[in-house]
Symmetry: C2
Subunit: 328 residues, 2 copies
């Protein structure tokens, strides 16, 4: 049995079909609120929806998040995991209302909530006060230290500590390395069995009946690069964050204040837009998305300018906007 390449004609044939499109799973972030501390007429409190395929994850849940979900037509379906960065009210006061609404709409599937203590006690106390026995399991996961907190076939979610006045965590959503893609024309021509297909996706070659071998690289396509998203809010400017968010494709980082308020930012354990850009640059991220803007700025254009002076590939997050994750 000799391991050899495709005959020349067949190589040409497959090369042509290397243009076969590899379908990327939708991986995107929708901003439901990007204001800080207090709501204003023009911005709502922290909350965002991360979608990976049909799965929905909520990151933070400030007061009014369920109203924002209605406004931006975000379904509660397939939303089974909520991540709360910390227990300042602008990041979680909307959680108990959202949980109540899920209950009133007859939810049955479990809801997993990740956050620092005593989040469970706070929610449970309010359920008890209204004599509510939830119709679905509420599963609390206490965040205490950096590490993996969620994993499925395609996605892994980790948390890491931020530097704020109280226990606060950032989150990284990282697409798992995916299997190689079979060339459709190879499949059509040789009809490999399920087991064989599985092995080829893992990198195996294919044995022809005549003993010849089709090399894996000739019958598969590279999977797309894994994509990753990181959320950092709220935090002091802190280079210790860099290793946790290194090379992510999209980094949402708080930019509560501008250059002129750097002292106040430090005092309040918040960051400026420029500092967010310094983290983005040091971590070599693909793109930086600014958010958690102070209520004092009705116009945040200067925050973008200040950040772009350090890291060009920066955008301001916009309420109701969706940002698709792409590889570089």
């Amino acid at each position: 049995m000799s391991k050899k390449s495709f005959p020349f004609a067949e190589r040409i044939f497959f090369c042509y079909f290397e243009k076969q499109k590899v379908v990327m799973t939708d991986f995107q972030v929708t901003i439901l609120g990007n204001g800080s501390a207090v709501p204003t007429a023009y911005q709502n409190l922290s909350a965002q929806l991360v979608q990976y395929g049909h799965r929905r994850f909520l990151v933070d849940c400030g007061e009014g998040t369920q109203m924002q979900m209605i406004k931006y037509q975000v379904s509660r379906k397939n939303l089974s995991h909520i991540f709360i960065s910390h227990l300042h009210g602008d990041h979680y006061f909307g959680l108990v209302g959202l949980v109540s609404t899920m209950h009133l709409f007859g939810r049955e599937q479990p809801l997993h909530i990740y956050g620092p203590e005593p989040l469970e006690e706070i929610i449970q106390r309010q359920m008890d006060a209204s004599d509510t026995r939830l119709k679905f399991p509420l599963v609390f996961h206490v965040l205490q230290k950096a590490g993996k907190i969620y994993s499925d076939n395609n996605l892994e979610i980790s948390c890491f500590p931020l530097n704020h006045r109280i226990a606060t965590f950032g989150f990284v959503f990282r697409e798992k390395e995916r299997e190689r893609n079979l060339q459709k024309d190879f499949v059509r021509r040789y009809s490999p069995g399920v087991e064989q297909m599985h092995r080829i996706k893992q990198g195996a070659d294919f044995l022809l009946p005549d003993g010849d071998v089709l090399r894996n690289e000739d019958i598969t396509l590279d999977p797309p690069l894994s994509r990753s998203y990181a959320y950092c809010s709220d935090t002091l400017f802190d280079p210790d964050i860099v290793p946790f968010v290194r090379s992510v494709d999209l980094l949402y980082h708080e930019a509560t204040f501008d250059d002129a308020m750097a002292d106040i930012a430090a005092e309040k354990y918040h960051a400026t837009a420029r500092q967010a850009a310094q983290i983005a640059k040091a971590a070599s991220v693909g793109e930086l998305l600014l958010g958690h803007f102070s209520a004092r700025f009705s116009d945040t254009a200067h925050l973008l300018e200040e950040a772009r002076g350090v890291f060009k590939n920066t955008r301001k997050s916009g309420e109701g906007m969706t940002y698709k994750l792409s590889t570089r």
Copy 2:
């Protein structure tokens, strides 16, 4: 010293000036939310602002109330008393956010909160979790039974039990009986002293230097009748409510369901629009204002029709609408 009436000419003179306008203190209710249970695209959760002169009182505070206050330009200034009817989330989940916002804006004057237990514990637990030491005194008043809960020079507020699944209270805002109004022309002509004016306002006559007496009814005007407002949400249809709201000028009563859902209303300890009207009629109120509409009704016109079949002087409350209290 003979007690006699004004000479004829003077009586004519004062009669003319009886047209003097008696200024009524503004007394009004602004609906910030009149939906029940869950927010929808078209209605927000229970909250309303009662204003008497410069004083503002908030009745219930569902999630998003502070956003509704921004939307309808309701200032937090002079808002020092909040009344929470009961601890179902749609009536108070916005309270902790509003308290936080007051703190962040540097409030210093005390805030009085009235509600059933364990409201204080719930709010305090959330303050502790965020390591927040409020800059202003938060004074909790536990509602346990019917009675007067607030009184100032002009207004008295009472609570009374409603019939709901958990401890729930209605509220009555009742203007105090006011002093008689001095006729301006009498004051101009006879320049009574401060003490004399005070006695005349209480009903005393006025002694002229020649020993004649001006009768109180000839030198004063009747004060306007006292106005009153009652809030009943949430409650089962319950005639026991009637004595507490008898003869109020305006009654806000929940009308969660329609006739077709009377069984469900009873099961859930709620009332139908028709039942609200039955209470209004039995209590001989001036006007009925329907609210706390089920999220299932995008159009509530039929609720108004059903209520008007029993009590004609009925209106549907509208979000952002202000209803002025008037005497009958």
